[in-house]
Symmetry: C2
Subunit: 349 residues, 2 copies
DNA sequence: TTGTAGGCGTTATCAG
DNA sequence: CTGATAACGCCTACAA
């Protein structure tokens, strides 16, 4: 690390003649009362047209901007939404966040983002931070370590609306992908390609969507008169080692699977690496599928068949729900459809 | 998209007996004045030990938390940092953000994040949003469209400290990777592998680090008695089409380059796709290098030789600088070292 | 050692 | 139509 001396910036701190004017400043200048200014600024019906114009004009000229802190203190709402998610570096989450941000800004809300880093402690801290920041509500996707949701129930008890997405909790409003259907479609696709022994590397049971995907997997098998073989279902805690171990377990089976449906694309990537190291040709000897359409799935070789989730829409819906709750309306859980993305790893026709 | 009816949540909004107690509540209960409570809570020296204890005890029991809005309104600082960056979905930026967040939280600051989406208009809007939110300072990486920095100068004039990272602007404090050195190392590596005609797909000239990388490229050539051939330097605006067009231009040269150093990994990925489609074997017929070590570079085939930037440190340093500025100290621009990551695309030994 | 009063910038209520 | 006044929750000079 090298350093480069930089000029002082203190000279930057000169004040402009009318920087940060307040309502009072405007009132004084116009020789009217602050409350009149306040009303004029928000087009209160019974303010004289002339005063209203004068006020707005000066406000514009002086570049007046209301002090949100004061407004919030008064109104008891900050128009800020607190977000807690596992990890921004996951492409899926960053896309959801884009959806959240767009919608939130459009609705006049700011967002305060925190990452749990898949860590339960940090998830708790995040709640504290956002609570102190007086956010109007929470949008949450829980960490993979989170098994109890008591901390979120506390939030509710304190009067905060909370909406979950992707990784949800019972009894909370949610927005999710149709994980079950997505899994089902993917497994159906394997079956159409002639697979008979389809394995599943499942995610941690405490993650809601892992349960859904497992369910969809089993459902597809049953609907096609294939029996659900517990030997073909293995679990990963999503660490690289765990992913590989799970894959190895499947490879050590007396009878090899002819396809593997992985909890998500990262798991699939690790599985692919291991399978290839063991000399198997993916898409030929064994088909592979993932979930989420992370960038990795397009870049890896062979490219990965996966399930695309509509992240932007999920993000937007989450905000919609939350704002409804903030406004005291009752809400409805939303499930967003998924599409299957067929690529090389599930065999070329 | 399907919907699922969800229970009403209105029953959640019951208030607890002492939820959100204020300093006044505590004062009333203890029959002392609010100011005493305020002082006791912050260990003001000349408050009676007994009162101090009683106050703290009750504050704990009642779960008192100071209202940040009121505090901020009073102190004229929010302990919030505003972030503007091009795109969270870029892994590099999300990692930097992790660094920023960690450091900021440790220093008692919250962060308010906005994405410009590489869009100049949205960058301007972001400034407005963060200004109104009364952030204490800005951390910025400019959009690829940003050619004038007047809007940031305005910020300065209004008294806001601003630190740039990665994509910086003249006369502003900054934290950057050593882009020049990184590029130089990569090109040196090509030269050691025997390359004589090394091309560069450069980024937009208005992005600071694109200029630096170009400079490092030329520097390496000169230091190795290779002449800088303008035909071997092409530009991309970072769109997929532009990346491919730039690559095509190089391939149409009467004499092919034997290596291409790309502005970043995404460019390299598009270049690789195109080269392979044209029947060239990367790492054999032509060497390829990128910049930033995005996940794509590890997943693509062949894997990409690239330059690793220390994103976490960059993030932390940015916060350090900004906090210094907030506290009125003068600051020093920081350049963080890079490492070269040799992989398959630059030839196997 | 503690209390009082005023203010941070805005809005809402109540008068006029 | 407009103006006082009080209040949101906290802090701090000044007083006692």
């Amino acid at each position: 690390m090298t350093f480069q001396t930089f000029a002082h910036f203190s000279y930057f701190y000169q004040k402009m003649p009318h920087s940060n004017p307040t309502i009072k400043d405007i009132a004084r200048e116009l020789k009217i009362s602050p409350s009149t200014v306040s009303r004029a600024l928000k087009d209160h019906p019974r303010i004289g047209l002339r005063t209203r114009e004068k006020v707005k004009e000066l406000a514009l000229e002086w570049n007046y901007e209301p002090n949100q802190l004061a407004v919030s203190l008064q109104n008891k709402r900050t128009n800020t939404i607190g977000i807690i998610l596992p990890e921004l570096a996951f492409h899926f989450f960053s896309k959801i966040l884009s959806g959240i941000e767009q919608k939130a800004l459009k609705e006049g809300y700011n967002i305060l983002i925190t990452q749990s880093g898949e860590n339960f402690e940090r998830e708790m801290e995040a709640i504290g931070i956002l609570t102190r920041a007086k956010v109007d509500g929470f949008i949450v996707s829980s960490s993979k370590e989170t098994k109890s949701f008591a901390h979120f129930n506390n939030l509710i008890k304190k009067g905060f609306p909370v909406v979950f997405f992707d990784r949800v909790a019972e009894k909370f409003p949610f927005v999710v992908s149709n994980d079950e259907k997505g899994a089902e479609m993917l497994v159906n696709h394997f079956i159409k390609r002639g697979c008979k022994r389809i394995a599943h590397i499942a995610g941690p049971k405490n993650i809601s969507n892992a349960r859904e995907r497992l369910f969809g997997y089993a459902e597809a098998l049953r609907n096609n008169q294939l029996k659900v073989d517990q030997n073909l279902i293995v679990y990963t805690n999503l660490d690289k080692e765990s992913n590989i171990e799970a894959t190895a377990t499947l490879l050590n089976l007396p009878q090899l699977p002819d396809a593997i449906f992985c909890y998500n694309d990262y798991v699939a990537y690790d599985a692919a690496t291991y399978l290839q190291r063991k000399g198997l040709k993916i898409g030929v000897d064994i088909l592979l599928g993932g979930f989420a359409n992370e960038p990795v799935s397009g870049y890896m070789s062979p490219s990965l068949t996966t399930v695309e989730q509509n992240a932007l829409i999920i993000g937007e819906k989450t905000v919609e729900l939350l704002i409804k709750m903030i406004n005291g309306e009752s809400v409805v859980g939303v499930t967003v459809d998924t599409q299957i993305l067929v690529r090389e790893s599930s065999g070329t026709l």
